[in-house]
């Protein structure tokens, strides 16, 4: 049953399995064990970033394509919801129209970029997507009549999802059962479904071909696979999932602007998450997103302590300054690319595999 749900692609490491269970349990129990809005927001962010990072892994890890336009699709999803709900009011039709519209736009755009530029070398693709993404961001902040410009759009979501909506008067285990909570669990449910869907894709024959192309494009082509169409399909699929992640984010935040969904900083964060978690493993997306976002929100607290302790050591004090958390994650990123290209998940799996082979029959 579980094997079927995970498309036969099990964690293959006891430690990883435990980590994944802890993450899932942590997310599910957040409202009950970590009170406060911040913890809930962090948990929600982990959810939609799992979808976003996994969709990026589909492209980077499984197909070997570096695109810097991934946040563009994330942004399209978020703007789809934001614009639709702003204009149509807080209705479910609005949500449907927003998601559908965003998906169509993402589909067209990813297809266009893919067909035009996936024939060129990896580096050109990276550069071209970087340029396209920056143009898109400029566009989003310029067409303020539609997008709200730099300020972005705040909007209302359907009543069921609003904090004002309440399932029952009395709180349950000290947690009020309001629309925010419903949204949170819906978010987790959709995240799980989308993640399992992606797991299914990478373990399908289509996914295998993608990996074959990544390993040896020449050979895959010799075997008769039309590599460009496979890579374009992967590009489109990955864009679709990123769009959905964007829609989830917008529904949760009830706001979207260029800085929350399109900025280059998010693109960098994505890269860090997918590489540190483990490229080409998909589970790496879960681990990477969870670690990164927790670090983003709580590593600073830790560094504040360290920085306080080092007040009298000039350089060290600056190096462990809470605002420099990205420095350390950046170093971890570089180290990951060198030493364990399959990231944390790869490392764990390797460890488990060694253990298994060292004790035959165990």
């Amino acid at each position: 049953m579980l094997n079927h749900l995970l498309s036969g692609d099990l964690p293959r490491s006891r430690v990883l399995a435990v980590v994944l269970v802890i993450i899932l349990a942590g997310l599910l129990l957040t409202p009950f064990i970590f009170p406060g809005a911040k913890a809930l927001n962090v948990a929600a962010k982990i959810c939609y970033f799992i979808v976003l990072v996994a969709s990026f892994d589909l492209l980077l890890g499984y197909t070997g394509i570096v695109s810097f336009a991934h946040t563009m699709f994330f942004g399209i999803g978020a703007y789809g919801i934001a614009i639709a709900l702003t204009h149509m009011g807080p209705t479910w039709t609005g949500v449907a129209v927003g998601v559908a519209g965003a998906l169509v736009i993402s589909l067209a755009l990813s297809l266009l970029i893919g067909l035009f530029s996936l024939r060129v070398k990896a580096m050109f693709y990276a550069m071209i997507t970087l340029a396209v993404a920056s143009a898109f961001m400029t566009m989003a902040s310029q067409f303020s009549d539609i997008t709200g410009g730099e300020d972005g759009l705040s909007f209302k979501v359907p009543e069921l999802l609003t904090p004002g909506f309440s399932l029952r008067e009395a709180p349950f285990l000290g947690v009020s059962l309001d629309g925010k909570l419903i949204t949170f669990y819906l978010l987790i449910a959709v995240t799980v479904v989308l993640f399992l869907l992606m797991l299914r894709i990478v373990n399908s024959p289509f996914g295998r071909v993608l990996q074959a192309i990544r390993e040896n494009e020449f050979r895959a082509e010799a075997l008769g696979y039309r590599t460009v169409s496979y890579r374009t399909s992967s590009n489109v699929l990955s864009a679709m999932f990123a769009t959905l992640a964007g829609a989830l984010m917008a529904l949760w935040m009830r706001y979207n602007g260029p800085d929350t969904s399109l900025s280059f900083e998010i693109m960098i964060d994505l890269l860090l998450m997918v590489v540190i978690g483990g490229m080409g493993t998909l589970y790496g997306a879960v681990v990477g997103a969870a670690i990164f976002i927790v670090a983003q929100n709580y590593l600073q607290e830790l560094m504040k302590v360290a920085s306080g302790a080092a007040t009298n050591v000039p350089l060290l004090r600056d190096l462990v300054h809470p605002d420099r958390w990205l420095l350390w994650l950046g170093l971890l990123f570089i180290l990951s690319v060198y030493k364990f290209p399959a990231g944390i998940v790869g490392k764990l799996r390797l460890g488990a595999w060694r253990k298994r082979t060292a004790q035959p029959g165990a």
Binding site: G64, V66, F124, S134, A135, D323, R324, F333
Partner: protein
């Protein structure tokens, strides 16, 4: 088969050198003139565009050569720009007496000192960057993109550690401030200086590339790395040299850019990155002349459209890239790689 032997030996096919892309600059400038209407505004804008273009060229030239020589695309090139600019804030900060003096000579010495320090530091850091970040991933494009991007992140954070995360002012020395009048047109002195400096760098670079053995080796290496090695030259050493010089030039460009903007932020490099890529793609990856023309086109177009249709100015670079690539898919001067 080939043409008959006699003609093949006797006559050389008369293919004219490709000057078409060179014509783009005057054509663009002439088209802009009637659109702008006023000649003096046009002169001001043209100088602004050329100055901007020169700075971009200085920054991007190293990037395009590094790519041409070793297929290394450094997404962290921007760090050297930021580093150079921040070095200049420190050096000029120590020399405020010289920069605020009304003596042109003292001003000049201060700026030159800032440039030299910025170039040396950027070049030195470039050498380390090449060794630590780039060398371990030669020939692995995917890792290279990731790791140079990582270098960019860490570099930017380290710059924040040293100089703080805020913007720092980088004021022009007294004698460089203000404008001079060319006819009716007011041209900022500093823009004029940038243009001259850019032309000097371009001239030196062209001279080295065409008149020295190292230059020949670089041009040959961009074209066919293996053959250069087969002739007995260590291309890796050449590459390190080009990388260091390219980083130093980016540092110089950073100083110039900072002075142009009168302030420096740690995100300077990553912001300029996109522009650099557009320029080297337009020029044809690996071509210095192409990079020069690409940079000038970007600079001019940005200033003309900024005046005529400000909204379009934000996209003018992308638009330019698309048009150029539709005309010549491999850039203005494709480097005939084998």
């Amino acid at each position: 088969m080939n043409a008959p032997a006699t003609t093949a030996v006797e006559a050389l096919p008369t293919v004219k050198p490709d000057r078409l892309p060179l014509m783009l600059l005057p054509v663009l400038a002439l088209v802009a003139l009637p659109l702008i209407g006023s000649a003096s505004t046009w002169v001001t804008l043209t100088f602004a565009g050329l100055a901007m273009g020169m700075i971009i060229f200085i920054i991007a030239s190293g990037l395009t050569l590094v790519f041409g020589l070793m297929d290394v695309l450094n997404f962290g090139h921007g760090v050297f720009i930021t580093l150079g600019a921040f070095m200049a804030t420190s050096v000029l900060g120590l020399m405020t007496g010289w920069t605020t003096s009304t003596s042109l000579l003292l001003n000049l010495v201060a700026v030159l000192a800032a440039m030299l320090v910025a170039m040396s530091v950027a070049g030195g850091v470039g050498a380390v960057f090449e060794r630590v970040i780039i060398r371990p991933v030669y020939g692995q494009p995917l890792k290279q993109i990731l790791i140079t991007m990582g270098g960019m992140i860490v570099g930017e954070e380290l710059i924040k550690v040293v100089w703080g995360p805020q913007a720092r002012p980088l004021l022009l020395p007294t004698a460089f401030q203000g404008s001079i009048l060319l006819g009716d047109a007011a041209v900022e002195k500093y823009r004029l200086i940038s243009v001259v400096l850019g032309l000097i760098v371009f001239a030196i670079m062209t001279w080295v590339l065409t008149h020295t053995k190292v230059g020949l080796l670089i041009r040959a290496g961009v074209h066919d790395r293996e053959m250069v090695e087969s002739l007995g030259y260590r291309i890796r050493r050449l590459f390190i040299g080009v990388f260091v010089v390219g980083s130093a030039l980016a540092g110089l460009g950073g100083v110039m850019w900072g002075l142009y903007q009168q302030s420096v932020i740690p995100q300077l490099g990553s912001q300029v990155n996109v522009l650099l890529f557009i320029v080297i793609i337009i020029g044809g990856m690996g071509s210095v002349t192409g990079c020069f023309i690409g940079a000038m086109l970007v600079g001019l177009l940005a200033n003309y459209t900024g005046f005529l249709v400000p909204k379009v100015a934000l996209f003018s670079n992308i638009l330019l890239m698309v048009i150029v690539l539709l005309w010549r898919p491999e850039g203005l001067y494709p480097v005939g790689k084998k």
